[in-house]
Symmetry: C4
Subunit: 279 residues, 4 copies
């Protein structure tokens, strides 16, 4: 009896390992195939959510869409439980970024039984597409993403300062435009004017609100040229950061053991100053 239990436990362990390899693994063919199929289904499920909101398509294919949606939801639910079962630390998975995304991806469909209009929430499953980076790990996609993230992180303080300034400028210029322009041209309140100011500063320029008085146009021109100059700032910050991190990457090669000078490239085999062989 004890033995059977052991065997059962072992059999379960082996099964769990197998599932683990297929679901969590990337390096095995089975794991890779599973990831690719999953990615395709996620893409399909995101498409379904999008298409359901298009009136013409929803009218014609309503039933098919609903069935497809339920099939995918049940598949995702099954996958979610498999993921929990197969890992040794279920709680770690459940409360991880991907675990929460996986849960939010399936919940809305079940919720839609009780609370209407919650189905739209399942669009967050688009975040599951971030798995692509894990799957395409073979290339150095992840490395590139990390590098970008580092550069952005390093520039974060500067960009925060910058955005803060932009907001204060928008409030002030928005108030000025509200006073200058009449409500007929769309500047009905200061918040609307601030919205217009951000639309203009960022060079988006919808045109739903546009100055009509001469003074308003003059101030708007000033704001645009200001925005023109301002757009240079975050670009400059991020560029300098990326160029910097690029330079830093070169330094991973060890220094010359003879003259201690820095090698000029990661693949340098001889010191460029004294000719000593680098190891």
């Amino acid at each position: 009896m004890v033995k059977t239990k052991n065997i059962n436990k072992n059999a379960f362990d082996i099964l769990r390992q197998r599932i683990n390899i297929i679901i969590h693994g990337v390096n095995t063919p089975a794991g890779k195939l599973f990831d690719l199929v999953l990615l395709f289904i996620i893409l399909l499920s995101v498409m379904l959510v999008l298409l359901e909101t298009v009136e013409n398509i929803d009218k014609r294919f309503h039933d098919i869409l609903i069935v497809a949606e339920w099939v995918i939801t049940i598949f995702f639910t099954f996958e979610y439980f498999l993921r929990i079962i197969s890992t040794r630390k279920p709680l770690q998975y459940i409360f991880s970024f991907y675990g929460l995304i996986d849960l939010i991806s399936i919940l809305p469909m079940y919720l839609s039984f009780f609370i209407p209009n919650t189905k739209i929430l399942s669009v967050v499953r688009a975040l599951r597409l971030l798995r692509l980076f894990r799957i395409l790990n073979l290339g150095n996609f992840t490395g590139q993403a990390t590098e970008l993230k580092l550069a952005l992180n390093a520039s974060r303080t500067k960009i925060t300062v910058f955005v803060y300034f932009v907001c204060i400028i928008s409030v002030l210029l928005g108030a000025v435009m509200y006073v200058v322009e009449s409500p007929e041209s769309g500047f009905t309140s200061i918040p609307t004017s601030i919205y217009w100011c951000i639309v203009t500063l960022t060079t988006v320029g919808y045109g739903d609100i546009a100055p009509i008085t001469t003074l308003g146009k003059f101030i708007a021109s000033f704001i645009m040229i200001l925005g023109y100059g301002i757009i240079a700032v975050p670009t400059g910050i991020v560029t300098a950061q990326i160029a910097n991190s690029k330079n830093k990457r070169k330094l991973f090669a060890p220094n010359c053991p003879n003259c201690n000078s820095q090698p000029l490239a990661d693949d340098a085999r001889y010191c460029s100053k004294c000719g000593t062989k680098l190891t």
Copy 2:
């Protein structure tokens, strides 16, 4: 009698110091709490000015908004006098940037008794939000802001030259478009054409004025591609400046022990100013 006065003076001095620490200080818990509360109230007061201009909200909550506005104004007035009293050099504060902002933040409400439509001026209190940088001093926000300011200052001449060129180009191209396009498409005068030209060059593109003739569209396409190339210039200037100031900071080599000047590279072995050997 003299002694009492002295004691009084001392008591007043101590009170002034206490207030000074709370209002002007950042490093004590009380001063920090005060700054945070103040920041919240400033934010609230800016929101009030914005919301008063939204018709629906003003209609429904008119009385509440007015009362809140007065409460805040009186609080700000009280704070303004406390600031004057608590500092040893009141005039220096009054005529400082923040002192003037603080005054302009409260005056409009009192002015609105005598002159209508001046209340809107109190939106300048948004500038008081710049205090945030002082409060968040713990991080290196101020340092970052200074760095940005230095980079922008260093690029100022180049950017001025650039803006001047943009203005002359806009006048010339604006006149050309005025001749080419008919008034029906919105090009009613040269100033309006110049406004359109700036809207186009800065890639804002409202669409309130847009060319309709073939030649006009052709010239507009030329202006857009020109603007595309032109936008690269300020970006290039600021980026080169930021990257430059970054490079200067990167030097971890110690300063010269003789003349204290910064070494120009990490691998400098001799001070480039006085020739002292660096260790």
Copy 3:
């Protein structure tokens, strides 16, 4: 008889060589003249395709346009066969990039006999304008284009990662805007919302769809400032890459006499690949 054949063959060979020099050559005056004339005719033929779609012009000059189109098509057909005959490896030309373009440039006219509305396809002959680079080879246009291509190629992975993120962000924010905004303001479905989100993030801002609710405008402002920051990323990537490739080219130091590899700095005294002393 055999001799005559030989002579004939030789005569044909010489003719082929002559044609080859004129058509494929760039360095001879005749070849250059041919290329310039060809470029002019290609430009003319592209103009014809464009003008045919302008209603007013098509109405007035319909017959002239058709005749001109046929003259050019026959000229191109003739040129195509000359190119095949004159080269020693006809298949290599036929399946090359330019060979396929040359074929697609003439086919649509003949196809338009059997299948209507295929004539528009002949617009691909615009791609033949890329020959300009070969003709202007005297300057270093090709070198510049190659450098640009290399810089873009090197940044490709980073830009792919970036575009992928932009797409996921657009899907999520598009869904949010669909929920927040009513269909009256143009957000009729999630795909439309995603389209709007891309229009906003890229700072194009048509204004055909624009938020009208307060919350929608607030989220839109957030998206714009986000896009403002995001636009800095590809710029930073490409700039760092171009600056990098520029630094690499700057080296005027001679290549290693032993292994012919490029020295990594102007002041390199030893080859970093094989350790040979550089003179």
Copy 4:
């Protein structure tokens, strides 16, 4: 008699020199004052041309504007002849850039007697505002402008290649959009589609023409993201160039006479490699 002539000639010479110093000179107070007054009058005359096209202003102040225009034209004519007389090489001035601009600035008014609607040409006098750089020479405006010009000149070939590619892409994508979209949405001909494509690629986005079909919106999204990536290219080119010219400026200091290493700054007084004093 001869003497009188000599004296006369001398007197004329002295007068010419005086005028020369005032008109062409910058360094004397009189010359500077003249330039400032001239700049003000040029600015005024440009304003006049602009204001004449504004209907309301022209109606009310028609006579004043005409008189002012004539006063300024006569003043400019007088100044033009003084410039010719005062210089030793009149032809050199007449056919110089500024000489031609000066002539074109006054001709249109006289021409307007014979040919109507030529008065608008006098807007070219805006180009005379470029003199500002000469006047403000005291600062290093000219140096900055020259630096910008050099950076742009050096990037010219790359930018030409780039603009050429953008044009070919616009033709191809414009044709695609013409086929995909119906004329109702504004895509009435291929040239119009190309215009729309340039408006979109440069992120201007008027919105006068915008896709309405799903496929059209999809292609438009692709074009926008493409434009997003493309805008990075000229920015990268110019930035790398400016950063480069900044680096090159450092190299004007002579190399170390002992070890021949490059000084790291223009104001370096000692070689940072071997400590030798730089002369």
